[in-house]
Subunit: 191 residues, 2 copies
DNA sequence: TTGTTAATGTGTCAAATGACACAGTTTTTG
DNA sequence: CAAAAACTGTGTCATTTGACACATTAACAA
């Protein structure tokens, strides 16, 4: 919970009262490795903050092949936005790649927080803008990099992920096959 | 301007007064083909709504090669979020691929709108959530598709873009070279 | 309108990639 | 603990891709 407070503080000014109001609406939970956070056809009615561990957010294409949409790292907020904001079911899935501890904020509480007072509404707006902005920055960065550069970037900024997450999932996350990633790793250790 | 009103209406309820307050802060402008909307090292202090035409949003990687980050279509809001929200300069560029007409909302006006009343603040929050959600949906969709599928998708949903934008830019937008896109097109016309 | 530049179509070839196949290792689970 | 399942390393090979080269056409500007 301390971690969640620190996370929120990073977005700017917020009074102690507002912070408490916000944080008290979050519930601490855990998943064991392999457990699912989101199943197909589920309504996603919460925002999640990952405190520790890694999650695998994936989907299936027309012919049932699994595609990794994201590997979710600690100290990030995440949800399936489309399902959360528009109250639709999702076909995607999300599963714990390791033991995970996280905080959950339900939609009803999210709405309540936004309506509580002007400062909190403003704060949530700032957080949303911030997340939107980082999404785009992240996507643009990725699109400028080759597969190898993406892997080096992971090594640099998410070394734990590289250690704890299976190679095939890392590979599909950076947009290639497990074999090609293997070739890259072999080349890098050779050098 | 009628187009902008219709665009905003798509996000939900908004009173006539609020709509007017919002729309009156937007200025109609135009770019001729080839003109730049954003230059390197610029501060981006506005949000843009594209009424007609296409824009090329691009960047350069470590060794100066140009990468297409997006081709911006009519009836969309766009800005370089990172620069706009955090008041930083950007290294990216944005240039008109055709004659373009657009509306501009300056940051100061954006801030004013958010502070004007609770309903408008709420409305802007809804728009932001909506844009965030579509960004992610779009990105996920793209990551599930092959290059060829992306091209077919463009043909289906953005036929004007395919006609009006140069092949090399379409190619880099969907993540390949101009030659490979050419091979795809040849194959498709053969069939 | 004409010279210049940008855009397109297409072939060749070396390099990168994905699909398979299979052996060795680690992890899970009954 | 033992069997099963998941994960990893690695080789082969057909396919795809990108880089280059160059001819042709379209768009633009002096």
């Amino acid at each position: 919970m301390q971690m969640l407070r620190a996370y929120f503080k990073g977005f700017g000014e917020i009074s102690m009262e507002d912070m408490d109001f916000l944080v008290h609406r979050c519930t601490e939970k855990a998943l064991a490795k392999g457990e699912k956070l989101i199943r197909p056809h589920q309504h996603v009615d919460s925002i999640y903050f990952i405190a520790s561990g890694f999650l695998h957010y994936f989907s299936h294409n027309e012919f049932g092949e699994r595609t990794t949409l994201k590997v979710i790292s600690p100290n990030h907020c995440w949800t399936i936005m489309d399902s959360f904001f528009h109250q639709r079911t999702t076909l995607d899935e999300c599963q714990a790649l390791t033991d995970v501890s996280y905080c959950e904020l339900k939609r009803s509480d999210y709405t309540e927080v936004k309506l509580h007072n002007k400062d909190l509404a403003n704060f949530i707006q700032t957080v949303t803008e911030y997340i939107l902005s980082s999404k785009v920055v992240e996507e643009n960065k990725k699109s400028k990099m080759s597969i190898e550069e993406r892997y080096l970037d992971l090594l640099q900024y998410h070394p734990d992920m590289v250690q704890q997450v299976p190679v095939n999932i890392i590979a599909s996350y950076i947009g290639t096959s497990r074999e090609t990633l293997h070739r890259i790793r072999r080349k890098l250790t050779a050098a």
